[in-house]
Subunit: 90 residues, 2 copies
Amino acid sequence: MTVYSVLHALSDPTRLTIVQTLRDNTEQACGTFPVTVAPSTLTHHFRVLREAGVIHQREEGNRRWTTLRYDDLETRFPGVVDAVLRAARP
Amino acid sequence: MTVYSVLHALSDPTRLTIVQTLRDNTEQACGTFPVTVAPSTLTHHFRVLREAGVIHQREEGNRRWTTLRYDDLETRFPGVVDAVLRAARP
């Protein structure tokens, strides 16, 4: 987890909407995010977020559940996620 | 100036070093940044930062001077730049 990969992961509207949704809720099932992109595009965005260490995903039954690694992010980069989410609000 | 282009501009070690240098000083001449990249690469990084609205550059004589648009960034995205710079410190 580097600050560069985290910032890159956050530098996209769809990915930031995913992070905002996860910040407001806890664990979230795929398909329940308020984004309008093709499934393959969404898969790509989840991979970028996962590889940067921003989210964690687990399979259960036939669903994939996603959580924000908020505590890890706060430990490594205090204040960054919330400052970015505030900045992205309309 | 969007939060996405600003985050993208900050998501690179060389560009973040440039921003850190400008945050610590005021106006800085090109060629005086503590980075070790080819001049053409540095020109690219300055362009990304400029187009994102992170820096301002002006020509004077045969030198180019660079400043951080800190007040503009703080007005639009309060706390983002300083949180990112803190996160990037070794």
